[in-house]
Symmetry: C2
Subunit: 179 residues, 2 copies
DNA sequence: ACCTGAACACCGTTCAAGT
DNA sequence: ACCTGAACACCGTTCAAGT
């Protein structure tokens, strides 16, 4: 009943946030939409392309973010985190298209903060790689070692540092104005 | 004929560097070893565990690296890069075990360079996330947009920055001695 | 102890054929 | 134009049964 690209990506996003990337399969999508698997290929060229489109949609709200580079990257984290294991997805999407929303906006924000154009480009590349690595790590850890009992920690052992603190600390170092 | 954990991981590493992660399947491994798929499960509890072991083996040489933090991270890159898409693998392995070779050595190297212990830990976490994100990006790009003709570039467009330059630049900023 | 055969519940993608 | 049915070539994992 009126299958469309919009319906497919919406369903994919729903599966992604409810069950994670490994449950976003073409067949699962088809089942969810009450349609034969092959039907999807009339609207979408491949799974990879579909996921790229989904990533674009997810990051779209960033285009309206008025804040500076730090605000942009913090909002980036908040958009990505709820999508259980979308970190891998974004790593792929960014490799395919390095102008993905946070990346395309960063150079300008950095120039506004006093960076020279060439340095702004370089720093954008560095910041994006850090952010993607940090988010993928944070999501993987949440998925793989879930619900660790607080009482069970070895007292002297290095405590697992809060993911947000690490993220902020990295950004702070990388976004510090050029000396 | 004498299947063993060593034989299995060696074959996995060979498949990984020859064909990439997506060709390292339990069934492909079994075919390569002339054995039924189920036989592998007598020696290995799961694919995930197998890949974790493989990652450990790959990073083992780092334990003998005598250089400073920068040398360590540059060697890390050289070990990982040849494994076509091992970046995703390492992201997973690191999430499972944050004491993976480069990470377990970094805090000491940083303290030797004048960092306070707490800052050394924090910086280790940040550097690892950057490195993993950078390597995954570099490998994904190599796989997805292969053999771009040099002559085809738009002259005024921002050139694709060399991955190594970005990697070094990020490390330089993150490893700069605390002010 | 170590392995096979067979099964279970899945994948992405293609394509003739139907409406 | 849009979708189905069926196929092709795969997955990870389990487990009774064999040696």
């Amino acid at each position: 009943m009126a299958l469309s690209l919009e319906l497919i990506t919406a369903t994919a996003r729903s599966l992604l946030s409810q069950y994670g990337l490994q449950d976003v399969s073409m067949r699962r999508l088809a089942r969810e939409l009450d349609v034969a698997p092959g039907a999807l290929y009339y609207h979408v060229p491949s799974k990879q392309e579909l996921l790229r489109t989904v990533a674009q949609e997810i990051l779209d709200p960033l285009l309206d973010e008025p804040g500076d580079a730090l605000a942009l990257m913090l909002r980036f984290r908040l958009l990505v985190l709820p999508l259980r294991d979308a970190g891998d997805l974004l790593l792929l999407a960014y490799a395919l298209d390095t102008t993905l929303p946070p990346a395309q906006l960063l150079p300008q924000r950095l120039r506004e903060a006093g960076w020279a154009p060439a340095e702004a480009e370089q720093t954008t590349a560095v910041v994006m790689r850090f952010a993607l690595g940090a988010l993928a790590t944070e999501q993987n850890q949440a998925l793989l070692q879930p619900a660790q009992p607080v009482t069970g920690r070895a007292p002297g052992a290095p405590q697992a540092m809060a993911a947000e603190r690490i993220y902020r600390h990295g950004l702070q170092r990388l976004l510090a104005p050029p000396r």
